[in-house]
Amino acid sequence: MPNLIERQRHIIDFTLSSLLRRKGKNCALLLVYTLIVFILASVLFFTHALKREAALLLNEAPEIIVQRTLAGRYQTIPIAWSDRILKINGVISVRPRLWGYHFDSAFKANYTLTVPAGNPPQQGSIDIGSGISMMRGANRGDIIAFTGHDGIPRSFKIRNILEHESQLLANDLILLSEEDYRDFTGIPADQATDLALRVRNSREYGIIAEKITRIYPDTRPIVRTEILRTYDALFGWRSGLLIVIFSAAILAFVIFAWEKATGLSAEERREIGILKAVGWETSDILLMKFWEGTVISLTAFLVGIILAYLHVFFTSSALFAPVLKGWSTLYPAFPLTPFLDLGQVATLFFLTVVPYTITTIVPSWRAATIDPDAVMR
């Protein structure tokens, strides 16, 4: 047994030194390999991080949201409706919510306005997200002005800067009091944006939603899990699509790798011939080739992943955020919460290292079966 380990060590040593002796050739391969891993890893990390942001955001969302539609378009909902909905069995509470978006034409940014359920700011003061704070250069205690629905600017005192686990949620948020909200947006006093329901039993979601549509046929109940699923499928689909697009790149890479692996230089052939002549066996050469592939793959894989991690979580995916986010134009730039899971790494491994390794099996074997007496001829 120690013999076997020692043999592996010798062969790894030899492989490393022979890789270093052929820096030029391996450099190009390593570069392309790393690039492929980097691109795919960026796609995966980014969509996954977005999915996670969405999930965090929805964690706090109510179980069922009831919206009203008018001629198929979204409409504010009368607060009075909540009484009848509350009478449905299984509904614990109904809360009319007030929220919406505000476009700041001066800074070309979209903000989310919300009246929080608990601890709302006093009339005349607001809490703002860190993104807005940064963009407008406004801090705690400052006075900040926004233009209301009627074109008249209103000024608010900043009570707090919001920090949150999910950057997506808090970044563009403005919290304000109900009175200010109605004054700012012009929503009548008896109307709300939508109704948020708390429901005790998850199995009753469907039945309750059905009952609501029976009472108010022009409402649209949305169940939380459904939103989550939709987001998830959307992001999953987007990253899947990108991978399909990049599969052409993977294919090109595989062809490149095949080229590199089959095109042994005369020098390399001679070396393998020498090794075989002096007593290395086919399986020793195969082992050497295996370690060679492992070293290259591992280097490219690790470097690619680290670069992608930095790219996604520290530069906010500067390279292809527009394709993936879709709605990024609506939001101020926000940093994503770093996150990495095993399934993603395995997926990446299958998309990059596995094709590379399989591509090199046959060429390695070809190299390993060079006749030992080749060097004598």
Binding site: Y205, P221, A233, G236, G240, G343, I358, V362
Partner: protein, 332 residues
């Protein structure tokens, strides 16, 4: 069909595995037909070299099968919330009737690849390729299973349709229209416990006998196979419950998650190692008569039995740990 990256990766790997298998099988077929150990012809030399390639392909195959098994469960788990009522991989696998067959085929192929490598190892030790025919027959038997796996997996994935909001009227009324078993059928706990421990004891005894006296290879191999099935049933029936500390969560996959310290990985790894090496003992038994392997096979069998015994023993220890020491009580 869901364009999930994990699914794409599995597609790709199955495709590559199938291509490799077809290549290896066609080489194997050629070897079976043209093999002539006494010939010094260039064809014979080429065939001999090809056996080296196929061994190397088979080793990669084993590694890939293992990885794809992992990714398959991981992916099934991560897309489970796309299906109403699915809580983890169990739910995703029951979305259509091809989920579990895919999983079973993956496990089967993994075991077959392991057995092939054992046979290959024994063959490489003999001076005259004593097991060459057996080896390539087994490869030809394996090939259809691997190809079937690819096809079944493909059908399974293309049949997955997520429940999502499609238009302005929510799809939520689809909820409940499809019955997904979010839990696997519970097997009664008490009889299962007795069965598990008596089976394990019998296997360990058979293994010890084989290791010490060199007798009872077939019994041990059969016991290993039986232990595999019973172990899985036991994980579902009661072992997992102690890790979850929940009296009704019979799930063989959630123990693979971080929440439970990834304890599922050592459990399943030890169980498959024990089973593959145990079955390997029986697989080698009929070839003891080959003259060049007369001395070699018993030695290999002894080693395999030792590995198998060790794996099963540690497996039982890990599985029993929470049963013995946790405050959680099933009857509670």
């Amino acid at each position: 069909m869901i364009l999930h990256p994990g699914i794409l990766a599995l597609f790709l790997s199955s495709l590559l595995i199938s291509l490799m298998t077809i290549y290896a099988a066609s080489c194997g077929f050629m070897i079976l037909r043209r093999w002539d150990i006494d010939s010094g012809s260039e064809l014979q030399l080429a065939l001999e070299r090809r056996t080296c390639l196929i061994s190397s392909i088979a080793s990669y195959l084993l590694a890939l099968q293992l990885l794809s098994l992992f990714l398959f469960i991981q992916t099934a788990d991560s897309i489970s919330h796309l299906f109403v009522g699915a809580m983890c991989a169990v739910g995703t696998l029951t979305v259509n009737s091809f989920g579990y067959p895919t999983l079973l085929l993956k496990v089967l192929n993994f075991i077959l690849a392991g057995l092939w490598l054992i046979l290959n190892h024994a063959d490489n030790r003999g001076y005259d390729y004593p097991l060459i025919r057996a080896k390539y027959l087994l490869l030809l038997i394996m090939a259809p299973f691997i190809l079937t796996e690819t096809v079944v997996q493909c059908i399974y994935f293309t049949g997955l349709k997520p429940d999502i909001i499609t238009s302005c009227c929510g799809t939520l009324f689809s909820q409940g229209s499809r019955g997904i078993a979010s839990e696997i059928l519970a097997i009664p706990t008490a009889p299962m416990k007795i069965l598990f421990y008596s089976c394990m004891a019998a296997t360990l005894a058979a293994g010890a006998r084989l290791f010490l006296k060199g007798k009872g290879s077939y019994i041990f191999a059969i016991m290993s196979g039986v232990t595999f099935v019973i172990s899985i049933a036991s994980i579902i029936s009661f072992i997992s419950l102690y890790f979850y500390e929940m009296p009704s969560h019979h799930c063989p996959f959630c123990i693979l998650q971080k929440e439970y310290g990834y304890v599922g990985y050592p459990l399943y790894a030890l169980m498959s190692l024990g089973t593959i090496t145990g079955l390997g003992v029986g697989l080698l038994q009929p070839f003891r008569k080959k003259e060049t392997l007369g001395m070699i096979i018993p030695a290999i069998q002894r080693k395999l039995a030792a590995v198998s015994l060790f794996s099963f023993f540690i497996y039982t220890l890990i599985a029993s740990w929470p049963i013995l020491f946790s405050s959680f009580n099933l009857k509670g």
